[in-house]
Amino acid sequence: MEMDEITKIAYNCRKATFLIEKQQLSSITMREKLELKIHLAGCVVCRIFMQQSANINKMVHNLLHDDTHTEMKLNDEFKKEMKDKIEQQLNNNKN
């Protein structure tokens, strides 16, 4: 790689964070991996971003897959309406 190309990579946090996101959910090319490595070697901010981003993914995963987190409650009025609709439908089906 040319020197000015390396300088560009070193500054480009936009691209680095993009590659971080892609790498966490999929894969990036060898060249992209090298670019990211060069960038992260000199950019402490993007290293923080990367760790925080990975932990956000973990949190989102838990939120979507963990049944044990607090169950929300539908209000009773709406439940009653739904029950009525279901009963009505069942009666219609009988006839």
Binding site: Y11, E21, K73
Partner: protein
């Protein structure tokens, strides 16, 4: 079967009893829908639609799976339908890596380094074992609610059951390039929102 709610499970087969659905599953399904749509009204409607659609399909109920599993599968399809609607129109637009109009650009144009006011700061979330506590979780949920619905659709679908990117792109009619730009923007905004609200 329908008219015998008292009948109990036998031979490992599951029976179906719509009279009990609301009491047994409404809260569970509502929570499921809400965590994926971040919209209370939408979640409520989806639960109701699920019950009504299920009634139509009662004959096709496979007694090998539980009612809960079966209803959840119906709801999941409804959630995906909802994502599809939210992202319609996305296909026609090309989303560029730069922030669009009206959006926060976290980076300095041309130079592409962080703008000073948007530099990510260490606040605990970067630790190996961060405090993944209730408070942080509820901040996360509030931050998710602030996302544009198209972004939320793409982002949640990718994290929902590790679906293949190509499948999501074709379901939501998004190009692969746009897909990654949306994932990137979503994360930039989510992270910034968490930092802003965590002290």
């Amino acid at each position: 079967m329908l008219n015998n709610p008292q009948q109990t499970q036998s031979g490992g087969e599951y029976l179906i009893d719509p009279h009990q659905w609301v009491d047994k599953y409404a809260d569970y399904l509502y929570t499921y829908a809400f965590t994926r749509t971040n919209n209370e009204d939408k979640a409520r409607d989806l639960v109701q639609e699920t019950f009504l659609a299920a009634l139509e399909k009662v004959d096709g109920f496979e007694s090998r799976s539980s009612e809960k599993t079966w209803l959840t599968a119906i709801l999941k399809n409804k959630v995906i339908d909802n994502y599809r609607k939210a992202s319609s129109g996305l296909a026609k637009k090309t989303v560029s890596l730069d922030a669009g109009a009206g959006q926060t650009d976290f980076f300095v144009p041309d130079y592409n380094n962080w703008r000073p006011e948007h530099v990510p700061k260490a606040f605990g979330l970067e630790d190996d074992c961060p405090m993944l506590n209730k408070e942080l979780n509820s901040i996360l949920q509030r931050c998710l609610q602030k996302l544009p619905s198209q972004w939320l659709a793409v982002f949640t679908m990718k994290h929902m059951d590790d679906a293949k990117t190509e499948e999501i792109c074709s379901e939501l009619k998004v190009t692969t390039a746009n897909f990654w730009v949306i994932i990137h923007r979503t994360k930039l905004n989510l992270r910034a929102c968490l930092q802003r609200n965590w002290n």
